[in-house]
């Protein structure tokens, strides 16, 4: 796949996204989030001011000073809420993406190997998959997070790893099932006589066949990681950082009494909406993956191309 191929593929993807207002909107949202992350990383966004403890500083109502950062008021540390939320985007996206990549890579490789080779390899991998499926994922993540020393708790890679520890298992099972049924199909017989190595058959033929499913799984793994990460913080297991959306929600309820009074209401809803918007966008995009990767569903566009 060279440069010109990638560009024309991106153009095609964009054409498909533009077909419906919801998907266009979703792509727009993702775009905004990505730009925001980049802005934070290159320091175009100001750093958080020092925390100000004390009842008069936390959960202040919105104000227009230092526009736009105080339009949502302050959080539980007296710092501007909007700034805190925006500064949280890169780590969330990074963790989600990394967790998804780990989940999908491990799941796909193990599923393919087990489905294609069968025999002993299949028995061993299936056993590992079954064990992983039985472990209560969230419980394991909880325990790990509790055990981890504080410095590692904020490390993006460590968190991604913890969140994907057993998530790969159900994907592996699905990929294994598809692989073992596909390997009986005639185009696989032909791939063998054409002299393709087992690796080429697995990754070039079988994987390609499952491309829409894998793309969709990747995106859904991201949404799952985001919920996982937010959930851990919501349960109070993460260091109390302003930039963590889950922590904001947690503190809004605990310290701000957001369930009973209006004071911290913005601090409760803003992070929730930020998360929901991102998840909504991701799920909409997941649905169009089928169309992007499956040429038969693009029939309408292809006819146009022929002309």
């Amino acid at each position: 796949m060279n440069i010109s191929n990638i560009f024309s593929w991106l153009r095609l993807a964009f054409k498909i996204f533009s077909k419906s207002p919801t998907t266009l909107f979703s792509i727009f949202i993702i775009f905004i989030y990505v730009i925001a992350s980049l802005a934070v990383c290159v320091n175009l966004v100001p750093p958080l001011p020092p925390a100000k403890g004390g009842w008069e500083y936390i959960y202040q109502p919105p104000s227009t000073r230092e526009f736009p950062w105080y339009i949502l008021g302050t959080d539980f540390t007296g710092r501007p809420l909007l700034l805190a939320i925006v500064r949280g985007i890169p780590s969330t996206l990074a963790i989600a993406f990394l967790a998804a990549v780990i989940t999908v890579s491990v799941g796909v490789v193990l599923g393919l190997a087990s489905g294609y080779f069968g025999g002993m390899i299949d028995e061993v991998i299936s056993m590992v998959i079954n064990v992983a499926l039985v472990i209560p994922t969230y419980l394991l993540a909880l325990i790990l997070v509790v055990i981890l020393p504080a410095e590692l708790k904020t490390n993006v890679f460590v968190l991604a790893g913890v969140l994907s520890i057993t998530a790969w298992a159900s994907l592996a099972r699905a990929v294994r099932a598809q692989t073992s049924s596909l390997k009986r199909r005639e185009f696989i017989d032909v791939a063998k006589t054409l002299g393709f190595s087992p690796w080429k058959i697995m990754f070039g033929e079988i994987l390609r066949f499952m491309a829409p499913f894998i793309a969709m799984s990747l995106i859904l793994a991201m949404t799952s990681a985001i919920y996982g990460y937010t959930g851990l913080a919501f349960l109070g297991l993460m260091p109390m950082s302003s930039e963590n959306w889950g922590v904001q929600i947690y503190m809004a309820i605990r310290a701000g009494g957001a369930l009973y009074s209006d004071k911290a209401i913005l601090a409760l809803w803003s992070p929730i909406i930020t998360i929901v918007l991102l998840q909504y966008a991701l799920i909409n995009i997941a649905k169009t993956m089928e169309e992007i990767f499956n040429p038969a569903l693009r029939a309408g566009l292809l006819v146009g191309e022929e002309e």
């Binding site: 032909v190 006589t193 054409l194 002299g195 070039g204 390609r208 491309a211 040429p295």
Partner: protein
Amino acid sequence: MSENIIETRNIKVVFSVRKGLLKRIKFAAVDNVSISIPKGSIVGLLGESGSGKTTLGKVTLALLKPTSGEVLFQGKNVFNMSKDEFKYYRLNAQYIPQDPYASIHPFKTVKDVLTDIVMYHQLAKSNREALEMAKDVMSKAGLNPPERFLNRYPFQLSGGERQRLSIARALILKPAYIVADEPVTMLDASLKSSTIKTLRDMVNAIGSSLLFITHEITLLQFFGIKTRIGVMYLGKIVEEGYIRDVLENPMHPYTQALIAAIPIADPKARETRRLILKSTIPSPLNRPHGCVLSDRCPYAMDICRKEEPILKEVKAYHKIACHLYN
């Protein structure tokens, strides 16, 4: 004397099938079959579903390992070759499957399918050269003009066009041996002859051997009177000979039934043709004792139910496995 490109000796392929929770039943899909395919020749394998013809074809391609027996490629045992010998064999033994819908990767364009092959085996030194090779074989396979088809996906091709792509794909490596398993069965009747003609001409042009598997005996006529054919039923070869001899003088009752069943474009013929065989083909799990056809054969004698007849030469180059001729 022409060397045999492929030779199978006493091939037996036994499958086991689960019946109920714990029972497993074994049956022989191919039972003691020996065929030889000379270099540069076309051999027909005639049989219906359950005859074992596809299994035998796959065994000659090393897609399946036989339970017993040998497969020789240019005299060497295929399952006992060195890595290099096997690689040479692998590239020289290609497959054209029956189903035009299941045999091509749905997400690859025609160009991808063909250029992938030559690029993977480094037979072309550049993308441009690979494209030329693809266009060349496409045009020989009847996909003309090639430019019209290069960027199409399989779902944009008709059944006939897909089979031509399968043919192109099998022949782009110019293999010495090709197995075509019912390549035209799923095509419209009007397309069968032109597709076979393309296959025949391409195979003859590169001097390859072809094992043509089918249940329609009339199609084998297109390969010329010197074509040898074998008739299979429930895993055994029941008759073997030159196509003209077998067609004009079918000796085995099964072959006679097959020929009598061919649709003929003549309304007056309808009254004179009857069903020859009784009942319907049994499941391969329930093979009758003795001769495989003994439960359906109108001429079955006592010995047929007890003893299996051996494939013997009865006339010049015409072999048959039937107690009627002992």
